[in-house]
Symmetry: C2
Subunit: 237 residues, 2 copies
DNA sequence: ACAATAGTGTCTCTGAGACAATATGCG
DNA sequence: CGCATATTGTCTCAGAGACACTATTGT
């Protein structure tokens, strides 16, 4: 049989396959806290439990897994986050009561101001501080997925400025440093922090300043591709 | 409707889902070259093309995706590699001629000597030097997957000794350094290389030596969990 | 002037890069 | 001994850590 014939007669429905979905851990930084977007489940199983935004691939609408993720995130927040990265894929026989299930997990970052409007609309979506998550029961294995996403983001705080995507387009250096400190879980020497960012020329001074409290802070924005930059030396965890 | 009823009546076959498979990039180091295990496809589509070892999840046999990967690798090599890590998940409408397809990719390392026997049996499996891959046409998007796996391994050579899993259990430091040099694509100062490994206490001196050429080299083996260790400072790429 | 926060100067310390010097096997 | 390869000594240099100091706003 040649390939054309094979493909014509191929029926994938003959094979039983796992469920396959996507889930996103969308982080933001607000009120000095790292927060994660949770949505209340409106369907079985785990109805009414809070979980990660996600859903099934729509093979008509979505050309790729990333499309599915962006579509699902946009449904909840009305916007597409500036940073979306694939995290890991989890799949086993027991994570979903409906049976063998595979989920492709993504980690994303967005400025709080850029999607609070979207969220306010949706009464079943909320920003939850990651510190308060320990006690909560989440749907499926979403608690574990968030833990992995958090650990990865924490690592990135040590060797990149990727966390900056959780801030507004313009931000101050002390603000970014605070975010990194929250992630790393300890204080950073401001000199060290500034030095490395300046040397790598990752940020652009907008010329504007933020007035608040003491001396005004310069407002910066990320340069193109600063998210890809990695320092050769970590801030020691 | 309560959850129990929901689950009883739930029929996932009502929904059309993508194909889902796993693929592994198994690396080894032999003859001063980094090699990757390829298998010749015995089925449509892409029949007779070389590709990565992989296959479909068997929901009866496999309790998790990792089970699938290990099962498929063992079928080809008769052994389970000491290092297996999830790499990325690729999924879109066009990567497989049979339709919307998702594949979960893994990267694995093994000592050449530990599976050459297994491979010899299987006439449709072969170690291929990664340098010679550029020209070849591989099945599906496996060429691209290998590129990603390689890039990830290259990064690990800069900040860990994970590549050591591609060597026999006992190996010499010059041997490990050579492997890292092949990965990084440039020479490393042997003093720097040794210093960091010694400081982090990642290897254990077996007391044995390898005689070959000049002064005999001490044989080391990895300590428990040395694969997880990351240096705070990279060997600069 | 003082409080509050932003930003700098500068010293120390760790660890990578460079490369010369030594050590240990072989013939 | 001389060759080949392994292993160590040691100097330099980049960049993080520490922390004191200066700068710029508001009250």
């Amino acid at each position: 049989m040649d390939e054309a014939t094979f493909l014509k007669t191929y029926d994938k429905r003959k094979f039983d396959t796992p469920l396959i979905s996507v889930d996103s851990t969308l982080f933001t930084y607000h009120d000095h806290q790292l927060k994660v977007l949770l949505v209340k489940r409106s369907n079985h199983p785990d109805l009414d439990l809070w979980g990660l935004p996600g859903g099934f691939i729509d093979m008509q609408q979505d050309k790729s897994i990333r499309d599915t993720v962006l579509r699902k995130l946009e449904e909840k927040t009305k916007v597409i986050p500036p940073y979306v990265e694939q995290l890991q894929c989890v799949g086993d026989a027991n994570r979903d009561k409906r049976g063998w299930s595979v989920t492709v997990c993504f980690s994303a970052l967005i400025a709080h101001q850029d999607c609070e409007v979207g969220i306010a609309d949706v009464s079943d979506a909320a920003w939850v501080a990651v510190d308060t998550l320990k006690d909560q029961t989440l749907a499926f294995d979403h608690q574990a997925i968030i833990t992995v996403a958090l650990e990865r983001l924490r690592q990135k705080a040590l060797y990149s400025i990727v966390p900056a995507y959780a801030l507004p387009e313009q931000f101050t250096l002390p603000e970014l440093q605070q975010l990194h400190e929250v992630l790393i879980g300890k204080t950073i020497q401001k000199k060290s922090f500034r030095r490395r960012i300046e040397q790598a020329e990752l940020l652009e001074d907008t010329g504007e300043k933020r007035y608040e409290g003491g001396r005004p802070a310069a407002l910066y924005k990320m340069k193109e591709a600063s998210g890809e930059y990695t320092f050769v030396r970590n801030l020691e965890g």
